[in-house]
Symmetry: C2
Subunit: 205 residues, 2 copies
């Protein structure tokens, strides 16, 4: 059995990387130990040693995707100054993420949300917890901007987080389904409207 | 073989009604002739006589869902006066649709969008055409409001249609995945912001 030794860890990481990209194309429910074994030329029993069940695999794929998202989007955003620059950095990186080839079939989380919304279980619980963390993080970016008087004091941080998420869902729809060449531009316009609605007026905050 | 006689038509309509509800729960790809035959106590060969292939079934399920949506949302909206009342009627009915039990697993189209975005074929083509019609309809509601000086002359009808769709995608996510009790309220807030951004100023249009 593969333990969490160096080689075992590296194999496990390689499997998860492949599985995460695959899930972005075929959905979490399209992931199967058999398919991964064929794709990666590994034995099914070896894969079962790493992931005891399909559900455990789904949970770890979501966690792997979340770790990629943290590196690509959240960390750089939190390095930007509070207020608008931070919110803008988050949005810009997120849009890049949505268009990037890291997720060859579109954002894994958007697909998983629709797939899992009525399927109770550990994968759904993991997804909801990850999304809740992310919505809270966005609300906190707004909150710290309000505290520093960069955003209006009556801005609603949770509403902003919700609206920003909706903009990205709209972008995904326009980009992946409708193949709208103006998808990114539309999302940027919506983002500018959102930010201008909460920007503190100069000298009067 | 069932022809489009009265009885054949009624059976076909009943099958499609069931299939449309089922697809809202299990997705279009979860629909199968075998499952429908079991659910409805019909023979597989009888079902094949109605729907020559799984793909033909998917296309007709999308068209059935679209017809329900036209009756529940679009027709009542178009009966409202042009400008804000019409846009508001559309939004209100749409939100009711999203929460209603007609679609027991959430909006069929939202799920189908994610399911089909990278699966070329007649089902995807049908979905894209339906969504395009609907986005155009929303843009036209804005356009006629501009023509009657109810909305600002510089409002962008296609952007508005895009943004309204994004609000509804955000609502679906908040409602079905996150089980946010404030999902409808959040969507309503976002709608009010959107409308207030294009409302013509009194006496100055």
């Amino acid at each position: 059995m593969a333990r969490h030794t160096g080689k075992g860890e590296a194999t496990r990481a390689a499997i998860l990387e492949h599985a995460t990209k695959l899930a972005s194309r075929v959905g979490l429910s399209g992931l199967s130990i058999g398919r991964l074994a064929r794709d990666l030329d590994l034995s099914k029993s070896g894969l079962f040693a790493h992931f005891q069940s399909k559900e455990a695999l789904q949970v770890q794929v979501l966690q792997t995707g979340a770790a990629l998202f943290v590196d690509a989007v959240i960390k750089p955003a939190l390095a930007a100054p509070r207020g608008e620059p931070r919110l803008r950095a988050l949005f810009t990186r997120w849009l890049e993420w949505a268009k990037s080839q890291r997720m060859p079939g579109g954002c894994l989380f958007v697909a998983a949300a629709v797939e899992l919304d009525d399927r109770p279980g550990p994968a759904r619980d993991t997804l909801v917890a990850l999304q809740k963390d992310f919505l809270d993080l966005m609300a906190n970016i707004v909150r710290s901007g309000i505290a520093e008087k960069k955003f209006r004091s009556d801005a609603d941080p949770d509403q902003l987080a919700h609206d920003l998420y909706a903009i990205m869902l709209g972008h995904q729809h326009a980009c992946w389904l409708m193949k709208d060449p103006r998808a990114a531009e539309r999302a940027e316009f919506a983002f500018e409207s959102l930010v201008s609605g909460i920007r503190a007026r100069r000298k009067t905050a």
